[in-house]
Subunit: 456 residues, 2 copies
Amino acid sequence: MANPLYIPELQEMLASNDVEAIKIFLHTLHPLRTADFMENLEPKEIWAILQHAETPLKVEIFGFFDEAIQVDIIEQADRKSAALFIGDLPPDDRVDMLQDVEPDIVDELMPMVPVEERRNIQRLQSYEEETAGAEMTTDFARLHEDMSVGEALQEIIRQAEELETIYYLYVVDEHDHLRGLVSAKKLIASMTNPQRPLHEIMETDLVTVRIDEDQEEVARKVARYDLLAIPVVDEQHQMLGIITHDDVLDMMVEEMTEDAYLSAAVAPLSETYLETSIPIMSWKRGVWLTVLFFGSSLTALLLTQAETSLATVAWLMSFVPLVISTGGNSGNQSATLIITALSTHEITVGDWVRVVKREFATGILLGGFLAFCGYLLALVLGFLLKQPGITPFTALVIPITLVLVTLFGTLTGSLLPLLFRRLGLDPALMSNPLVACLCDVSGIFIYLVVAQLMLL
Amino acid sequence: MANPLYIPELQEMLASNDVEAIKIFLHTLHPLRTADFMENLEPKEIWAILQHAETPLKVEIFGFFDEAIQVDIIEQADRKSAALFIGDLPPDDRVDMLQDVEPDIVDELMPMVPVEERRNIQRLQSYEEETAGAEMTTDFARLHEDMSVGEALQEIIRQAEELETIYYLYVVDEHDHLRGLVSAKKLIASMTNPQRPLHEIMETDLVTVRIDEDQEEVARKVARYDLLAIPVVDEQHQMLGIITHDDVLDMMVEEMTEDAYLSAAVAPLSETYLETSIPIMSWKRGVWLTVLFFGSSLTALLLTQAETSLATVAWLMSFVPLVISTGGNSGNQSATLIITALSTHEITVGDWVRVVKREFATGILLGGFLAFCGYLLALVLGFLLKQPGITPFTALVIPITLVLVTLFGTLTGSLLPLLFRRLGLDPALMSNPLVACLCDVSGIFIYLVVAQLMLL
C-alpha cells in the first residue's frame, strides 16, 4: 500500500521544517491514504509530521497505521507527549495497542497519562479477551430523557467533535442506567418539532450485550439487527460502553480466519502470515501435524497386523488410499457444512435428529454412487492389469466398503461438531484434518473387517 | 426465533379487528422482534397486521423477515397494494426479493409499481450479480455544494424520513457527479457556525467503487477504511448509489461461507443447510466427491502396478496411508494459510518468492521432525511386530519419503492458490480436498520412487 514516491518529499519537508507544506499534505488526502504514504518513514519522522495536525486528525491518521507501526511510533516518541497523545486515543484502540508496547515503556508512560484516561485504560484492561468488555469503547453520546429534541441536538453539536460516533444517542438516567436510544436520524427527522420531549421519540426495546458476553455473540446481534453500534451493559443495565460496526466487522474477520485455520489444523496466529517467524509458524503447524501423524500411525499398525492374514489377496492393499480418502472427503464435507451452519446460526444442537436423518440419506446416496464407480474400477483394473484374485465376487469388497466408509464419514463428520458444541467446546476443532484422520483409521478398520468376512 | 406464544393473541386481535391492540403490538417492540413474533402466522395474516403500521415502520418490520417469508407475503397479497408497497421498499432489497417471486406474479405486479420506482428496479436488475451495482441502493442523501451548513441541516431534516441512512451526505453537482462528502457528524459539529459554506467542510479525497467492481473489493474497501457506506460511481464519476455497512457485513459472511464450503469441496448452496433438499445437497457434494474419487483412483493404479515389483518388501504397503496423509495435511495447512492471507489482502501474488522461501524452510523443519518420528515408528513396528525386512537401513525409506512429501505439500499447497489467483480464478478452488488429492497421488509416487532407488 505504501507509496515510496512521497518519502523523499516528506523527508525534505521535515528537513527544511516546511510547516506549510506538511500541513497541506496532512489535510489533502483521506487520513488512511495519508497514513499509507507515511508508512515507510522512520517512526520518529512520522511522529514529527503528525505534530502538525490538530488532535482529531492526528488521532484519525494514527488509527490507520498497522498496530506494529503504532507501537513503534509510541515507543520512540518522547514519553511526555506520547502519554498525552494516548489520553486522546479511542479507549478500545489504545488498550489493544498498549498490549504490544514494551512493558517497561508502558510503566513509564502510564503515570503521565491524564488520570481519568488512565483509570479508563485500567478498567478496560481488566476485562477478559474476546468478551464485549474487552472490545467496547467508553466514548458514546449520552442524553437525558427530560431534554427536548431541540436541546438534544444542541447537546450533540457540543459533544460531536470528541466522540467516535454520534449516530446512536443513548438516553441514560443519572446513574447511567440505559433507558432508551434515539438515532441521530430520528432526532434530525424530529426537528420539525423541536419542543417534543426526547422520551417520546426514543426506542425502549433495545438490543444490548452483557459485559461478559462473547464477541461472537456481539457480532451475531449486530449483524442480525443491522446495527451501527450495540450498547454494553452490566447486570443492573448500567451502560458501560458501545461496540461499533467497524469493530464488529474486524471481529468477524478474526473469528472466520481462526475457523479457517482450525479447519486446516493450524493454531491461531497472532500476526499476519508474512509477519509470523518461521520457527513460530512451524510450531503452530507442527503441533497439529504431529498429533495427526500419531493418529495416522494407527493405520500403519492396523495394516502391519493385517498383512499376514491378507497375503493371499494382495490386490486389496492397492485400494487402501482410495477407500480412506473417500471416507475422509465425505466426512470433511459434512463437518464443514455443520460447522458453518452452527456459526451462522442456521442450526442448533437441538436439530441433531434432523441432521442425522439428512446425513444418513445423503451418505447412502453418495456412497451408493461411489460404490458403483468403485466396483467398475476394481473390475477394470483386475481385467486390464490382469491382477490375480480380482473376480466379480471378490471385487464386491470395494463397493460394500465404500458405502460404509461414506456413511461413517457423513455421520461422524456431522455429529462430532454438534457434540463439541454441546460440550461447550469450539465445533471448529472437529474440523477437516481431525475428522479425516478419524475416517482414515476407521476406514481401514472397516475395510479389513469387510475383507475378512467376505474373503477368508 | 419465532415465539409461538403470541400467535393466538395476534389471531384473536385480527379476528375481532382490534386495531388499537394491533397498533400497540406493532409499536412496542424492536421491529426485528415484531417480525420474529409474527413469523409463524400465515402470510395473509402478517399482511393484514402490517396494514396497521405507517409506511416506514411497515417497511422496517417487513425487512426483518427471511426472504422466503417476504416472498410468500407479497405473492398472496392483493396485487394493487403489493405493487404500491414494493414502491416503498429499499431499492436493493426489493430487487433481491423479486428474484424469488413467481415470474407470473412479478409480471402482474410490475405495471402497477409507480413508474419511477419501476425504472429503478429495472436498472438495478440489469447489473451483474455480485458486483457493486447489484448490491447498491439508490436512496442516498444528496446536497449541493453552494449550500451553507445550516441549509444543509434543514435539507437533511426534510429528507431524513425517506432515506435508509443520512450519516454520509453526498455533495453532487447538477448532473449528479460526486464532488465531496460530509458526514452527519461533521455537519452537526459545524453547526457552531451555520453560515459556513458546505464546500469548506466537505471531504474531497473519497473512497468509491465503480459500478462493475466485485463485491469482494467493496467489502475490502469498507472494512479497510472503516466506512458506514461507500458511494458507487460510473466512469464519469457520476454517483449511482451507495452500499451500506450492514449489506457489507452480509456480503462478507456470504463470501466466507462460500470459501468454507469450497475448502471442503462443496459447491455453494443457494439456501441454508436445512432448507437444501437432500437430492440437491447430494448433487452439490457428489460432483466434487466424484472428481476426487477419480483423482484418488490413480493411487490404486499406481499401487497395483508397483505391487509385483515391491512384493519382496511387503511391509512398505503398511505405511502408505501414513505417508500420504502427512503430505496431504501439510499441503492443506499451506493452502489454507495462503488462501486466507490472499482474501484478507495480507499478501499478493507478487509475494510469491517470499512465500516459496518461507514454505521451503517450514517444510524442511516440519518434514525433518516428522521424519524423525517416522523413523522411530518404523523401527519400533519392525522390532515389536517382528516385521520381516525392516532394518535400520531399509527403514530409512520412511523418513526420506516423509521429508519429501512434506516439502511437496507445503510448496504445492502454497503455490497453487497463488497460481489460481494469477490466472484470475478463485484461489479457494485450490483448497483442501484438491490439494490433498494431488498430495495423495504424488506422495505415493514419491514413496515408490524412493523405495525403488533404495531397496531394489
